[in-house]
Symmetry: C2
Subunit: 336 residues, 2 copies
DNA sequence: TTGAAAGCGCTAACAT
DNA sequence: ATGTTAGCGCTTTCAA
């Protein structure tokens, strides 16, 4: 296999200088028609492909962006990635990705890796709340944009209004006339969970009711279908008078477990107990009883984060905040 | 913001030459203890981060790999990506990804982009069967490895034995005593579909039965849950004597639609009609009736493709072939 | 409009 | 063990 041709090779085949080849590549208008044609022919004949690293070294501007998420296999992040991809495609930038699996050491490792690659910037879903490593990277000159952050940090970023999401879900159940709502939540140490609870309670207050009477929070040990199933069993074991007349779940996986359990036990959904989830994962609409849920604009989160990175901001700490959206399906309102 | 420090800065702060700094970075054993300590201190004090592009330009060896898949939002590819990630992490290589959305023009675009980045190699799920662009890239010196290919091409790659998968599914249903099996398949123009049909028929023959009597193929217009639902309705509309006593679906989404429809119609699954899917997507185990399915080793596909790329192969066209696996759940065998 | 030449940050060969 | 230096492929003045 012969060596990759360089601008020098192109120049000599075309009978011009390397400067002219570079101009054909970057400022074709500066080059006369015939010359440009000769150079382009040489490029094609040689199969010349410019070297991104040489270009970056000399011009100082990167052709890539780094993204660090918790887990690429999670549909939420996957959709976010597609949003990033779409924004980067507009500028022909390469996207580097990695998953931290909630490990701060991995996060640091990948930050450093992207820093070495001198990427245009790094889009991060931070593992923890200690952003000192992120700050160090930023202070060394690499732009950092947060995704799904708390919307109140020292970095630019995009976030979703979780309190509003909680509000939407519970207001919907109240609209349906329900007054004994159980919220199957995660621990309040997770900001998203805390915010959703806050919004849920506010919805009750806004309806002129007493949250302590109407809304009962139960904190789950995990946020998956099995935990939802266990919680649903516990609810069914309660004396009739204490049983909820509606369930709001902190995510769709939990809702899935709840739904499965209620249906198996012969509890009619939504007539006896409507169920609302959170996230609108792809499967929510395909279940036996399609799931009412709170949709987050995942694609837009990614797109906007990339946009925040690429577009020069008036103020460098710009925050973009999205509102989630209620998607009503059969698990809360009988088909009609 | 001050300029990024370079090896020259580190050298002058540490009072050594740039060669020594480079040695500390790449061959620390060549440097004496005290000197190395001084250099490392200078690196830390300055916040020096080596430039990957300068290193690549000089050393000629890339720190990144490119991956091109049909759609990053598809759980199948996501899992493959995690496999790639895991293999690359072993060598601290960055992973660049992009989705073609089945568009050959996009595929070409990304191939070229990665070529410019002079990646170690490119892992591709090709859009079509015309691999001439891939061949051009390879002939210019970039390694190309195929994923989920037909296992019989001019490129190294990994593939899965779809005929075996079809065989496993139908053999399982035959074992259950079923003799009127409907296979809800995709068009035979898709290689995977054709191979699965071949395997399915062979399973019948291997059982000493006549495939034309035992196995009926129905080709669906789409391979999603709605198509499965429509197909299931059609099956239920058949006269009793022509109704199948088992259904094998070309993927889990189709199976999901079938399952939903049968259950709603009051058909007992698995007692009356066992259902088998294909892929073992995450949700297969979480359905009302957990789905029996054929699992593909997605993570391993990615891992092995990356391994094929990175590890010097004895023969450059090495093929890795995986066997899918039957996962029995309640949709084919009543819980016990 | 085109050419000549410097130099981006780094590694590796060679010299000391 | 450490220093010196050429040069990877490219862009970008500056000159012609």
């Amino acid at each position: 296999m012969r060596q990759r041709p360089s601008v020098t090779d192109v120049a000599s085949v075309a009978g011009v200088s390397v400067g002219t080849v570079s101009n054909v590549l970057n400022r074709p208008d500066r080059v006369s028609g015939p010359t440009r044609a000769r150079v382009e022919k040489a490029i094609a004949d040689l199969g010349f492909v410019p070297s991104a690293s040489a270009r970056q070294l000399r011009a100082g501007v990167a052709q890539s962006v780094g993204a660090i998420v918790l887990d690429l296999a999670n549909p939420f992040f996957t959709s976010v990635m597609r949003g990033i991809e779409d924004r980067l495609a507009e500028e022909s930038l390469a996207l580097m990705v990695s998953s931290t699996d909630d490990d701060p050491a991995r996060e640091t490792h990948f930050l450093r890796m992207y820093e070495q690659h001198e990427v245009r910037g790094i889009l991060v879903t931070p593992v923890g709340t200690d952003h000192s490593e992120l700050a160090a990277v930023r202070d060394r000159g690499t732009r950092v944009v947060l995704m799904d952050s708390d919307g109140d940090s020292a970095f630019p970023g995009v976030s979703v209004d979780d309190a509003h999401g909680g509000h939407l879900a519970v207001a919907h159940l109240l609209d349906l006339g329900r007054r004994r709502i159980t919220f199957l939540n995660g621990p309040s140490t997770i900001r998203q969970c805390l915010d959703r609870l806050t919004g849920a309670r506010r919805a009750v207050v806004d309806a002129g009711l007493n949250p302590d009477e109407v809304l009962t929070e139960r904190v789950l040990p995990a946020l998956n279908a099995d935990a939802g199933e266990a919680a649903a069993h516990a609810l069914l074991a309660l004396p009739r008078s204490e049983r909820p007349d509606a369930v709001f779940c902190v995510n769709d996986l939990v809702a899935l477990g709840v739904l499965r359990t209620l249906l198996r036990a012969g509890v009619e959904v939504p007539q006896r107990i409507p169920v609302v989830g959170y996230d609108d994962i792809g499967f929510a609409s395909m279940l036996m009883v399609p799931l009412t849920t709170i949709r987050q604009p995942t694609h837009q989160i990614g797109w906007s984060a990339a946009d925040l990175l690429l577009r020069p901001q008036p103020e460098s700490l710009a925050q973009v905040r999205f509102s989630p959206e209620l998607v009503v399906r059969a698990s809360s309102v009988a088909a009609g």
